[in-house]
Symmetry: C2
Subunit: 325 residues, 2 copies
């Protein structure tokens, strides 16, 4: 069995070799305007251009690729109303196996349409009256499908770590790396790569103030759960860091930075109106932290992961009302 000390750069390298044929090597964007604003040289890894609109395709692809073919052929399942759903649907199609995504009946229409477009079957449940776990057991009994967790799985974490692997391969040594943190899949994978490759690099997770479960846990030295958070950053609405991700975050990350809802909305607007790229609220957290001066930046080389670009029209309209930086 793998333990957190076995989770190394080598595992991310293996993931990259597996998934490279199935995912985009996303571009690294730069902006004179952003650099001038923060006094740094900033490299933005644009996972909003990834297949399915976020980094989630990487972890799902790696997870499926690592399954024994006779297990994988029974199909896969996931619970998600967000980016993980589309990642798993894409991965299942890539490997030619059926995918079942369990979504709440009130999931946004655009997410449902996206998931269906990638060929997955959707099973709806009533968030108020039904038990996700019972649905999962029933699904597994019916079909033998393998449940793909959204973050707390070493192959998922290794897949997400390929984001940092590609960024650092392209731009070389950095003074600091900033990644958004929800359940910690992206952050634990990327921090493992960055820490092992460049031992003195500062590595920051960036989290919404309203969803500060990882920040609280990091300070307390143990996993802390919070009530359901109301942040606009829908990729950060988990209640606690993962059992597998958190020890790696503790070990490899320098600090967790917090950003306000207003700072997140203004960062989405800045990226859109100045850089002409659509980044979702969760994905804009790193740029929010830089623009708000929450990480040392002056004169430094800084990598920021733009984790995704799946935004509803209503959410985006809300961001456009933010004040400019």
């Amino acid at each position: 069995m793998t333990t957190s000390t076995d989770f190394t750069l080598a595992r991310v390298l293996a993931a990259h070799a597996r998934i490279a044929p199935y995912v985009h090597r996303t571009p690294v964007l730069t902006s004179r305007t952003l650099d001038a604003r923060v006094g740094a040289t900033v490299f933005l890894k644009a996972e909003n251009f990834q297949r399915g609109g976020s980094f989630k395709a990487r972890g799902a692809m790696n997870c499926l690729a690592a399954l024994p073919p006779e297990v994988r052929s029974r199909g896969v399942a996931a619970f998600s109303s967000g980016n993980h759903a589309q990642g798993v649907a894409l991965a299942a199609r890539a490997f030619g196996v059926p995918a079942t995504i369990v979504m709440p009946t009130d999931a946004p229409a655009s997410k449902i349409a996206g998931t269906l477009a990638y060929g997955a079957r959707i099973v709806y449940y009533d968030r108020q009256h039904e038990d996700r776990e019972a649905i999962a057991r029933q699904l597994a009994e019916e079909s033998g499908a393998v449940l793909i967790p959204p973050y707390d799985h070493y192959e998922v974490m290794a897949g997400q770590g390929t984001v940092a692997l590609e960024l650092l391969t392209e731009v070389g040594s950095l003074d600091a790396l900033l990644a958004p943190v929800g359940g910690g899949g992206l952050l634990s994978g990327c921090a493992t790569v960055a820490r092992e490759w460049f031992p003195t690099m500062a590595i920051y997770g960036v989290e919404a103030e309203l969803a500060d479960d990882t920040c609280q846990s990091f300070r307390a030295g143990r996993r802390v759960a919070i009530p359901p958070p109301a942040t606009i950053a829908d990729g950060m609405r988990n209640l606690a860091p993962g059992a597998l991700t958190f020890p790696i975050v503790q070990r490899a990350v320098t600090d967790i930075l917090l950003v306000s809802e207003q700072e997140i909305r203004a960062a989405v607007k800045f990226l859109l109106t100045r850089l002409k790229v659509l980044v979702e609220p969760t994905g804009a957290a790193g740029v929010a932290a830089l623009l708000a001066g929450k990480a040392p930046a002056q004169g430094k080389r800084i990598g920021v992961i733009l984790s995704g670009g799946n935004v509803d029209a209503a959410q985006l309209t809300d961001c456009l009302k933010a004040d400019d930086w």
Copy 2:
């Protein structure tokens, strides 16, 4: 003196050599989703990522580069409340000469801020009570500044033609090329490149139905003027095609396609929510034509110029209300 028959690919090649150090070679984007939707292989030349947010920097840079240094050093001037203002301001800064931009007092705050940020001086005029021509004469008398026209100038047209030169160099032969048409600077430059290089390629200008001066002119065989149009595509609000651009459009272009306001808004929304890139209404006209089935597409290789990405928050909010394709 140059006449329209002297305006050839060679002139665009010369422009490219001059301006390459000063402008971005913008990326060519592709999308499985868009290809599936229109049944074609589509190559999007992303001038929304150009310096200043649109292709306009190319023509302005070439115009300034071609001026004798002793003339250029007296400075340049332009009338514009839009992308041309930022293009001229950037070009003047690149050559270290002063720029004066004449803008109406009611120009959007974001355009004013952008132009000032590039180091230009702004002279405001009252659209209702003042005469642009009188202001231009006064400026020239005061400073000797050279007026840079927005489209009707061979060096401007040659600079804009470098967009097609880069696209065709990168992707090779196409079945069709679509470019938005306002005054015709971009279309005449790009059509000259495409027609001379690939004589059988279909070349389409795409225009808003509400601003169909070039379409009417193309059908009539002479320049036709229209009343001030109210289209959301603010780069198409000119009243007639240019005296220099129109003969080239007549000679090199296959047809002018028209798109509705609703089709333009929905194309902006499609590019934003599906491809995660911000394109302004004028710049989305080509994709609008493809999505609306107005150009033969099935099985073809099609190039589309996304001409710019400068959108006000209010304009964008309006586009987000459009129905999805």
